[in-house]
Amino acid sequence: MTEATSTADLGTDATSAAVAVATTGLTKQFGTQAAVDGIDLHVPHGAVYGFLGPNGSGKTTTIRMLLGLVHASAGRVEVLGSPIPDGASVVLPRVGSLVEGPAFHPYLSGRANLVRLDAADRFADPATSSSRIDAALDRVGLMAAARKRYRAYSLGMRQRLAIAAALLMPRDLLILDEPTNGLDPQGTREVRSLIGALAGDGATILVSSHLLSEVEQVCSHLGVMREGRLVAQGTIDEVRAGAKPLVHVTTASPHEAAVVLHELGLEEVALTMSGVRAAPGEVEPERIVAALVAAGVGVRGFVVEAPSLEDLFVALTGEGFDVSG
């Protein structure tokens, strides 16, 4: 996975710091409730940062603060080296964004909506408007429906149009809030490959999702939100290092196997559908197999695996079913 240090030189601007997005103690209070509670976001330049968390964990509010839409109650935001909101007019032209789903004028065509947004951009050259809009539409595969009214678009098409809007101008940073929402599996794959391609062009990408599986394949970094707090952050490997690997034994005599694993000193021994699972700790896998065989347990399969990020995500966010608990 890409390390922050190795990609910092991808910055093409003299003003670009090594960190694309940095917040310190960022807090947003709505009434008495803290939607975002003192988070220190750190998105290295050139990273594809997966911003994860269940619905309502504060991701969108954070993104709104990064874009200057919502004012922080406390803390600081720096995007591409400029403070937000004060430097928003300088820095936002270099930032493409998708915030809380697509929003366009329903009675205008997809293309006319992009013309409208391009007209609003004082850095956009009207002479190149048409070709840039076509390129953006083409990039999200929406050319064929460009002249259709937005109200006739499916949710997936709307989502694509919103991504096209973020790509109207060359960007150094893309902030994409749930970009695969409403897309079919094919569209999800396309968005993933688009994110990869944009990252390949040198853009830093912050992509939020409540589904880890949608982003883990393209991300170099992760940040996990829970109830307004950032509970984990770092490269994928760093985040994964926080989780213990597990051994899975497939066997017809799980109870005997469990006893053997206990005696070896393995922790978190638990029965599964097909056998036994446990955390090996310092015990080498080959010793475990040998002990099982010596005890006469018929081993049909033996796997050592790091818990999937999904498991880790669930453990961190505390949502869903925590089966080991």
């Binding site: 093409t12 601007d13 709104r64 874009l67 200057g68 839409l69 919502v70 004012h71 928003a88 007019s89 936002l92 032209p93 270099r94 930032v95 964004s97 915030v99 809380e100 789903g101 697509p102 929003a103 366009f104 004028h105 329903p106 009675y107 205008l108 013309v115 409208r116 947004l117 007209a119 609003a120 951009d121 004082r122 850095f123 956009a124 050259d125 009207p126 390129a135 083409d138 990039r139 999200v140 595969g141 919103a162 809007a165 101008m169 060359p170 150094d172 396309e190 490959s193 688009l194 990869g196 391609a197 390949g200 062009d201 040198g202």
Partner: protein
């Protein structure tokens, strides 16, 4: 989706250009946004219907005059003007300033910010980015131009349809003086401009209300209520101490353009009141909008 489009190299010149935006370029860009804004207003089916409604009043007046008088002649209407296109236009303005024109302004004001917030398009405009002050200026400019178009539609339809049905000749004023068609059209333009200024002040109130809500209908109703409440207050003699401060109080002075010579005094004070409302309410709108959390 193709994977190999804009290369980092091709983005380089744009990035340099971004730091070199001068005031004239910002001006040009704002005019581009204003054009887009006007296109949005005029392209909207509901607003097109609104224009038809505004135009129907002078048509109705012209037809009624034609039918009742059986042709050209003295109408003995609001003013002692001859029955012609100018008279129709003036009468239509007088009728529509009471409700239809303020309502049109209220509708546009509701769309301006509350409508964009309601659709969610406001957040995408602001992240383009359009600086909030610039957006407010462009939105208000579009409102004023839209208002002017409304007044022009009423007066223009009156002149054209009235001219066709009743003729367009020399106009007799209240004072008994008669003025030519050119002079009459110039005075009509003055009356229309004066009303537009008054409506622009209402638009400033509407813009402020539009910053307070995400429901365009609520902003439209509130703006209409403000205008109507002022008319009602203006009609209550016991509240006459308040009348000089009411926005609508001197709106009817637009007819002073047809006195001989033009009677400026009321219109002059009226314009000052308009200006006061514009300053206060655009400032309030700015104060509210520039600090607002956009959560829609």
């Amino acid at each position: 989706m193709s994977v190999d489009d804009p290369t980092p190299a091709s983005t380089q010149p744009v990035r340099t250009a971004r730091t070199a935006v001068g005031p004239s370029r910002t001006m040009r860009a704002s005019l581009r946004l204003l054009r887009s804004e006007l296109g949005l207003i005029i392209g909207r089916r509901r607003n097109q219907v609104g224009i038809v409604v505004l135009a129907s009043v002078p048509i109705l007046i012209a037809v009624a005059l034609r039918v009742s008088s059986g042709g050209r002649g003295d109408g003995g209407g609001l003013l002692a003007l001859a029955n012609n296109g100018i008279f129709v236009a003036l009468t239509a303005l007088g009728v529509e300033i009471a409700l239809f024109l303020p309502l049109a302004v209220a509708v546009l004001a509701g769309d301006a910010l509350a409508g964009e917030a309601n659709q969610g398009t406001l957040r995408y405009l602001l992240t383009v980015p359009v600086e909030r002050t610039r957006l407010l200026v462009v939105k208000y400019a579009a409102l004023v131009i839209g208002t002017g178009i409304g007044v022009l539609v009423v007066a223009g339809t009156g002149v054209i349809v009235g001219g066709v049905l009743l003729g367009l000749g020399p106009t007799t004023l209240l004072s008994g003086d008669t003025i030519g068609v050119g002079d009459a059209l110039a005075r009509l333009a003055l009356a229309g401009a004066y009303l537009t200024a008054g409506l622009a002040a209402l638009a400033a109130i509407g813009l402020f209300i539009s910053t307070l809500t995400e429901q365009p209908i609520a902003a439209t109703i509130a703006t209409t209520v403000v205008a109507t409440a002022m008319w009602i207050t203006d009609a209550i003699p016991q509240l006459d101490w308040l009348h000089p401060w009411l926005l609508v109080n001197r709106w009817s002075a637009f007819a002073d353009a047809f006195r001989e010579p033009v009677f400026w005094d009321t219109m002059r004070v009226g314009l000052l009141v308009d200006l006061g409302y514009i300053v206060v309410f655009t400032a309030l709108a700015w104060a509210r909008f520039s600090n607002k959390d956009i959560t829609s």
